[in-house]
């Protein structure tokens, strides 16, 4: 989805894509989020890992959280409001702006 080539600016670009690639447009409509861990403040308590609804937050051997599958994040902010150390920020991501967004 990130690597998708940019279509020419037509008045109704969504209609054209739905006709040809329905699965990709469905993905495009889904909101994407970036979960940013502020590692300096994180104390590896494991609350975000345990409470994540999608179970995408993993922790490494020292307990520091990381996310491999960032596109699965639904942006519910359950980890953000339960982080006792104010170490999680969730930002919405706009994939159409630039290709390397979110890295």
């Amino acid at each position: 989805m990130v690597n998708k080539t940019n279509t020419k600016p037509t008045p109704k670009p969504k209609k054209g894509t739905t006709a040809t690639k329905p699965s990709q447009t469905k993905k495009k409509e889904k909101k994407l989020y970036n979960v940013i861990f502020f590692k300096n403040w994180c104390k590896s308590c494991g609350i975000c890992t345990a409470l994540c609804v999608k179970q995408i937050i993993k922790s490494d051997e020292t307990g520091v959280p990381y996310i491999d599958d960032m596109d699965s994040c639904t942006g519910c902010r359950f980890c953000e409001i339960h982080c006792p150390d104010f170490a999680i920020t969730i930002k919405s991501r706009h994939p159409e702006r630039r290709e390397s967004n979110g890295n």
């Binding site: 300096n40 403040w41 104390k43 590896s44 308590c45 494991g46 609350i47 345990a50 409470l51 902010r77 953000e80 409001i81 339960h82 982080c83 006792p84 150390d85 104010f86 999680i88 920020t89 969730i90 930002k91």
Partner: protein, 294 residues
């Protein structure tokens, strides 16, 4: 555009001086503080008109981290300092953060009399069932039979229920929530801050380092998840029997009554007395109104 978490971190925290904070990993105090800051942000109160007072204990560290007018007072006396601040400057929003031992043991008398007096204050009581900072001694809210540093064979006394105590003592608004229900907690805090009169917000929090470890309740995650399983909303709890409610936590608004706030009544008393004495002129009346306006 700044996200809400960034606003909370950059606007309301002393982020460049005091962080990371001293609370243990997974401590519920941080969750309560986050909910409090989000509630203040949602109510659009300016930082200059909010006072955050606290006593001694783990919860007493909270004003150190929040960027309001803050005061860290003596053990149990946070509400007396808040009363003084409110009487001197009634236009301020005074929030008092206390622990369970701080509010009901050392400051027990101050707490019930502040509730009886009904000033426009907000008391946020973080109840973690133990004295966490000093090594896990039993507090007035330690459940019967549980193990602490001073009750190694099981606690022989029965626990206080802070919210019910406050409601009986005459608080205008009493609510309870837990650290698992962070969104609910934020909503309850909003109601408590908005309410005119003495409002008490009891937050059930986890002390997995002292209380949880001694009673084999697991770590932070297990304790926080247990609040999810044990919490019952007020309207559902009203239909349950006493036996079913054993070990459950009733969350929601437990009391909400409208009573005259004592600063308002006092202002009226002063006005009437001045009128009776015939001393009132236009200027003093103006000044008097301004002085006691909230």
């Amino acid at each position: 555009m700044l996200e809400r978490a960034e606003i909370v971190r950059k606007e309301y925290l002393r982020h460049d001086k005091k962080f990371p904070h001293v609370w243990c990993p997974g401590c519920g105090n941080g969750i309560v503080m986050g909910a409090l800051l989000r509630a203040i942000h949602a109510l659009e109160l300016s930082k200059d008109e909010v006072v955050l007072a606290s006593g001694i204990g783990c919860s007493g560290r909270m004003p150190t981290y929040a960027d309001f007018n803050t005061i860290h007072t003596t053990h149990g006396r946070a509400l007396t300092f808040s009363t003084g601040i409110k009487l001197a400057k009634p236009e301020l929003t005074v929030l008092t953060v206390m622990g369970d031992g701080d509010s009901t043991a050392i400051g027990g008398n101050h707490f019930i009399h502040a509730a009886r007096r009904n000033l426009n204050l907000t008391a946020i009581i973080i109840n973690n069932s133990t004295y966490g900072m000093t090594g896990g001694q039993y507090s007035p809210t330690t459940p019967f039979g549980s193990i602490s540093a001073t009750s190694v064979y099981g606690h022989v006394e029965h626990a206080f229920s802070i919210a019910e105590l406050a409601a009986t003592a005459g608080a205008s608004f009493v609510a309870r929530s837990t650290v698992y229900h962070a969104t609910h907690l934020e909503e309850m805090l909003k109601l408590a801050i908005k309410k005119r009169g003495f409002s008490v917000m009891e937050v059930i929090s986890n002390c997995h380092v002292q209380y949880g470890k001694k009673n084999k309740l697991g770590g932070a995650v297990q304790m926080i998840n247990s609040y999810k399983d044990n919490a019952v909303k007020v309207d559902k709890a009203a239909k349950m029997s006493q036996e079913e409610l054993e070990g459950k936590i009733t969350i929601g608004v437990l009391a909400d009554v409208d009573k005259p706030v004592s600063t308002e009544v006092y202002r009226q008393v002063v006005k009437d007395a001045q009128k009776k004495a015939g001393k009132i002129s236009k200027e003093t009346d103006k000044n008097g109104v301004k002085r006691y306006e909230e």
